[in-house]
């Protein structure tokens, strides 16, 4: 009788042994996704009702709080620059030669008609610092086996109270994210793909952001080139660099 019981319990036991801790998974994900510095050239493909628009930009990021982006194309957006220092965001428009600090309503507006708002772009804390994670299952996305994690905020000031993450079992990269409001309403969905090994870390080169409350196909964010942990001079993260 005991043998039979062991026979039944063994797979469950082995399964529990194989399921890593949620916090461990998050730590590994953060290690892949967050770097000290990064310099990237990327495209943002905004799918609208009348077709798609592609906006290319070059971005510099330092730590979790500072970033600087310059739009390279199309001609209408060329030269527009964006600087984020801590929780403040400035935009420089070459057509008016003016720098404005975004606040309130403006922060909640979409970036160049995309599904990303300016305040979405300001969210960049490590998952491990903000959430408690629990592995709730397994799934397959794009042929890759994933852990399904439920994240619940452990700090008061988390932007999203709950998240659901599909993490690649081997590469520790999220392949899908769902972001929820406190009420449980699904607010955003992010699909990540084209995972490549860059500078010794796995990184998804394509992300599709979808504001679930809005109509449309969402916005693709495609990284053409990215380098991690390269030195970036401090003057880049300065308001003066917006007008240069």
């Amino acid at each position: 009788m005991k043998k039979i019981l062991y026979l039944f319990l063994l797979p469950a036991f082995l399964n529990a042994q194989n399921t890593p801790d949620g916090a461990d998974i998050l730590r590994k994900v953060d290690k892949n996704m967050i770097s000290k510095t990064s310099i990237s050239t990327s495209q943002m493909v905004v799918h609208g009702r009348r077709g798609s628009r592609t906006i290319t930009s070059k971005s510099y990021q330092k730590g979790e709080v500072n970033s600087f982006s310059e739009y390279l194309s199309p001609a209408r957006e060329k030269g527009t620059k964006m600087l984020k220092l801590d929780d403040r965001l400035w935009i420089y428009s070459p057509s008016t030669d003016r720098t404005i600090q975004l606040s309130g309503h403006m922060l909640r507006q979409s970036v160049m008609g995309s599904d990303l708002s300016y305040e979405d772009m300001m969210e960049d804390r490590k998952l491990e610092e903000v959430y408690n994670a629990k592995v709730v299952g397994e799934d397959t996305i794009g042929g890759r086996k994933t852990w399904v994690l439920e994240l619940s905020a452990k700090v008061d000031d988390a932007t999203y109270e709950k998240r659901k993450e599909w993490i690649d079992k081997e590469r520790y990269i999220p392949l899908k994210e769902e972001l929820f409001a406190k009420s449980g309403e699904l607010l955003k969905r992010v699909l990540l793909s084209d995972v490549e090994k860059i500078d010794g870390r796995w990184y998804p080169k394509k992300m599709n952001y979808k504001d679930m409350l809005k109509d449309g196909e969402g916005t693709d964010f495609i990284v053409d080139e990215i380098t991690f942990d390269t030195d970036i001079p401090d003057y880049i993260f300065n308001k003066a660099s917006l007008k240069q």
């Binding site: 309503h105 403006m106 000031d157 409001a181 406190k182 009420s183 409350l213 109509d215």
Partner: protein, 385 residues
């Protein structure tokens, strides 16, 4: 003096068309001045009345950090006022949020208000009467821009006091129509109790609206703005409008006065024999100057009479029907009604009369001064001087 008036009257009537042309243009200036100022005064009264009824009440007790012109301040500008201090005050909590009407994203301001308030004309009782889980009130402008109607549900996304997103459906319980766009454009009104619950900011308010019984107190962290302070912007706009409008009607008045001036110069030149005769008959030079001045100023008296004859019916008609304002002017952010009803006060009418008569008398007197220097014998001979 009576003789001067009689002679002036006879001379004017004798001049025929020339007199009536001068009188016509002067009366037009007279009517335009009264009309324009009446319209501005009407707008002033209406916008003050509406702003007090819908927005300002009898003053605002604002959180020190709150600056309505700086959206950066909204996030942290709120505080709790002890219950005993908040007597005669209606609390309003302001937060920023986003709505998603028909799959579109629209940033809005959400304002929590005490639903039982009587200070403002906002129909907040509709929030109490609604059976919806989260009822909201919006103005006609907001309803038009978000394409919402009464009973519609729309998804609202907001952040709580810690910045965490929350989202749920809200129901439009009522749509109000107001002339004050600053309580309508981009705004949703909700029960303050509900907003406290949604944002976890229980007891907090960004500002309080005072009623007529409120006595201003010095409160730490709060700043009282009197009704006069709040109406200052409106008064400034109206004062500026009056000045810019005065350029137009002073130009018109100048043309009328120039016509009188020309007529006077011509009279003095052409009626030298008449001037000489007056002096020969025993009139002093001052009396003759007075006669010509009275003649000139009589244009203005006739102009006021003629202006009254056709102006009064127009003014009465305007005060009854009002003047339609273009719909674009109601989106400007200042209180403008769809129809403005002009106000013609006694001060405005008599002030304009004095302005027209005094200026016409002055321009009549200036050319008539030449008479004082005339040689009566040469004048009698009709010799050019």
């Amino acid at each position: 003096m009576k003789l001067a008036f009689q002679l002036a009257y006879k001379n004017l009537m004798g001049a025929g068309l020339r007199t009536w042309l001068n009188v016509g243009i002067l009366s037009f200036a007279f009517v335009i001045i009264i009309f324009y100022n009446g319209m501005i005064d009407g707008w002033n009264e209406q916008s003050k009345r509406d702003s007090i009824a819908w927005e300002y009440g009898y003053g605002e007790l604002r959180n020190d950090k709150y600056n309505p012109l700086d959206p950066f301040t909204i996030q942290d500008a709120h505080g709790v006022l002890p219950k005993e201090k908040s007597k005669d005050l209606t609390p309003i909590l302001i937060r920023q949020a986003t709505i998603y009407p028909h799959g579109r994203m629209m940033p809005i301001t959400i304002k929590g208000i005490d639903t039982g308030q009587k200070t403002l004309q906002l129909p907040t009782q509709k929030l109490e009467l609604s059976n919806a889980e989260i009822p909201v009130l919006i103005g006609t402008r907001m309803a038009a821009s978000a394409n919402l109607k009464e009973g519609d549900k729309v998804l609202l996304r907001w952040r709580d006091k810690n910045g965490t997103f929350d989202a749920t459906n809200i129901t439009v319980a009522g749509i109000f129509d107001t002339n004050v766009p600053t309580v309508d454009n981009g705004q949703f009104w909700i029960s303050i109790d509900k907003l406290w619950e949604m944002t976890e900011l229980t007891g907090n308010a960004t500002l309080f609206i005072a009623n007529q019984n409120f006595t201003p107190l010095k409160l730490n962290g709060w700043n009282f703005k009197t009704q006069m302070n709040l109406l200052k912007d409106l008064n400034d706009i109206i004062a500026m409008k009056k000045i810019s409008g005065s350029i137009m009607y002073l130009l018109l008045l100048s043309i009328a006065l120039l016509a009188i001036f020309d007529t006077q110069v011509l009279s003095v030149f052409r009626r030298q024999r008449e001037i000489g005769t007056y002096i020969a008959l025993g009139m002093t030079r001052r009396q003759v100057v007075g006669l010509f001045t009275v003649e000139g100023s009589m244009y203005s008296i006739l102009a006021t009479i003629v202006g009254c004859i056709y102006g009064i019916p127009i003014f009465v008609f305007m005060t009854k029907t009002g003047i339609g304002m273009p719909s674009a002017s109601q989106e400007m952010g200042i209180a403008v009604a769809e129809r403005i009803f002009p106000v013609y006060g006694a001060g405005l009418i008599f002030g304009t009369m004095v302005l027209v008569v005094a200026s016409a008398t002055l321009v009549s007197f200036l050319p008539a001064r030449k008479i004082a220097k005339m040689n009566p014998v040469d004048a009698l001979k009709g010799k050019l001087q």
